[in-house]
Symmetry: C2
Subunit: 336 residues, 2 copies
Amino acid sequence: MVTITDISKACGVSRATVSKALNGAPDIAPKTAERIREQARALGYLPNATARALKMGRSYNIGVLFSDPTGSGITHEYFSQILESVKAEAERLGYDITFISKDLGAMSMDFYEHAKYRSCDGVVIASADFQDPAIIRLAQSEIPTVTLDYTFDSRTSILSDNVRGMEALVRFVYERGHRRLAFIHGEMTSVTQKRVASFKKTCASLGITVPGDFIRPAVYHDPRSSGLATRALLALPEQPTCIFYPDDLSFLGGMSELERHGISIPKDMSVVGYDGIPLSQILRPRLTTYRQGAERMGSEAARLLIEQIEHPDTWLPQSITVEGELLEGDTVRIIG
Amino acid sequence: MVTITDISKACGVSRATVSKALNGAPDIAPKTAERIREQARALGYLPNATARALKMGRSYNIGVLFSDPTGSGITHEYFSQILESVKAEAERLGYDITFISKDLGAMSMDFYEHAKYRSCDGVVIASADFQDPAIIRLAQSEIPTVTLDYTFDSRTSILSDNVRGMEALVRFVYERGHRRLAFIHGEMTSVTQKRVASFKKTCASLGITVPGDFIRPAVYHDPRSSGLATRALLALPEQPTCIFYPDDLSFLGGMSELERHGISIPKDMSVVGYDGIPLSQILRPRLTTYRQGAERMGSEAARLLIEQIEHPDTWLPQSITVEGELLEGDTVRIIG
DNA sequence: ATAATGAACTTAATCGATTAAGTCAACTTT
DNA sequence: AAAGTTGACTTAATCGATTAAGTTCATTAT
C-alpha cells in the first residue's frame, strides 16, 4: 500500500508537507505541491479513509437503516427506490453508505451501537418500527439522523404527503361518480393513521358516508392479507363500487381474489392503489394509484442528513414533505 | 466516546491489558479480565471499528458492487433479493457491507480504488458489465472477490444454473405439446449466451427446429423492448405457440402486447419467464418460470468471500452453481 | 540457595493521516 | 543595522486499538 510516507520519501519532504499538499493547504509552495501531486499519481497513491476517519473524527460514511419486521426491507420496490436514491445522492456528496442492523456476528449491539462502532457520521432511518426502543435510542442520540415517514421530536424527517395523496385519490373517484368507497389499510402506523384520517375526512367533506365495515385492516405489501380483506368486502350485503388498497403490491392480492369471483376491473369493481411503483404502470389494466416521490424522498434525506452533519451547530430540525402525483390508470370506471 | 484508555484508568491497568482482556487473550488473570469487562460494560464502552481496522489491516467490511448500466441495479427484485441475502449472511459472520461505486463526490476513482479507499476486505460483484476495464481491474486485483453469474479466470464465482434452467423450461413446454418455440433474449452477456445455447441445444435434442426469426433480441428487465419483440413475433406468417421471455418483468411487456392483439394467455399463446421473482406468482395467470436461487446465491457469495478473506493462503478459486426450480404457473397450455 | 520457569502484567512501537506549534532563512520595515 | 514579518517547510502529538518484546515477582526445580 502506498502511503504518504512513501511519497514523502520520494519527494524528500516531510509527511506533513505531503498531507498538506494533497489537501491544498495554503502554506505549500505551488511547485512543491505540484511535484508531490505528480509523485502521488506516479506511485498510485490512494488516501486511506480509515486512517483519515480515525484522526478527523469524520468517516464520510452514513448508515442506512432498513429494519422491516418482515425482514424484506429492501426487496420492496418502494424502499429499494429510496435506497437507490439515498445512495446516489450520498455518493454525489462524497459519502459512502453502510447498512446498520442489530447484531453483527457474535457481538450483539443495538442500532445506536452499531452506528457508533462503524463511526457513521449520521444515519438515514428508512423503514423501521418507530416504537422499537432501539430505534428511539438511535433517534434521540447525538448521532445526526433523518427519518422517513415518521418524525421524532426535534429531529429532521422527510415525509410523504399522505394526507394530500389520499385526498387526491378520494376526490378522483368521487368525480367519477363513486360514492361507496371501501378502504383496506395496512398496519396502524403513523402513516396509516394519516391516510385513514385523510380518507375519512375527505369522504365526510364530500358528503360520503363510509360504513364501518368498509374500512378493513390488512398488512402492507402482503397480497394474501389484502386478498382476504377483499373477500370480506365481497361478502357484505351491500358492496363498495371502489376499493382502496394499502399499496400497489397489495392490490395484486385483491386482483386475484376479484378474478376468482369473476369480477372484472374496472367494469364490475374499481380499485386504486398507493405508492406508484413502476410495476403498477406495467400491469394491465394500469393501476390508478398515487405515486410517492420515493426518489426525491431518498435524495432529500441524504442531502439533509449531510447538511446536518456538516453544519451541526447551526442546524435546525426540519420536516420536508415530498409531494407525489396521482397516476391515472385504467382501474377506475366512470359511473353514471 | 469511551475508549480503552478510559477503562484502563478506571481499572488501574495499562491499555494493553484492557485490549487483551476484552479480546480474551490468555495471559490475563481471570479476575482481572472480569473486572475489566465489568468496567467496560459500566462505562458503555464500544470498540472503534475504524481504529481496529487501521491497526489490524482488516476492516470486517465487504464491498458490494451493483453497477447496472441502466442505473437501476438494486431496484430489480432479483438483485435486491441477492443484496438482501448477501447482507444477511455477511452480518451473520460479523461483516458490514458498503456499496462500491465509481466516483465518490469530487474524487474520481474506479471500483478498485474505491474498495481500497474504504479498506474493504473483499468485494461481491453482483451486477456489472464484465467487459468494463474497471471491473476487470478489480477482479484481477489482490482484493478477494466473488462474482455472480460470471467467472473471471482463477477467481471465485457463484453461478445460476442457466443451462439446466433453460433446459427444464424447454422440456416442460415440449412435454405439453409445444413444438414452435420462440425465444426473446436479453443483451448478449455470458449468461444470455448460455441460455440461448441451452435453448437451441435442448430444442435440437428434442427434434425441434427453431426458425431463425423465432430468436429475438431484447433488453433485460425492459417491458417495452420485449413488447416490441413480441409484436415482431406476432407479425410473422407462422407464429410460435409459446414465447420464452428473457425474464419475468419483460414478460409483462409481452403480456400487454398480446392483450392489445386480443390474444389471451394461455388459450391463444403460451409463455414462460425467467427469474421466478415473487411477483411472478402473485400475477394472474401465475407465470410459468424458472426461479433462480437468488437467496442462496447471495448467501453463498458472502460465505465464500469471507472464507477467502479469512484463509487467503489456502484458498482455491471455485465456482458454485446454485440450482433453481421450475415454477409451474398457468401460462403454458397443453396442446393436443 | 540459586537458577529457571511461568503467570500477569507494562512498555512502546505501530497502523496512515492530520494539524497545532515550532523553525529558519529570506525579505521588509524603520 | 536591528527588529519584525512572511513563506515554506518540519516536528511531534494525536486519533483508538493491537501486539511483540520486555519486566516483575512469586513459585518451583536442582
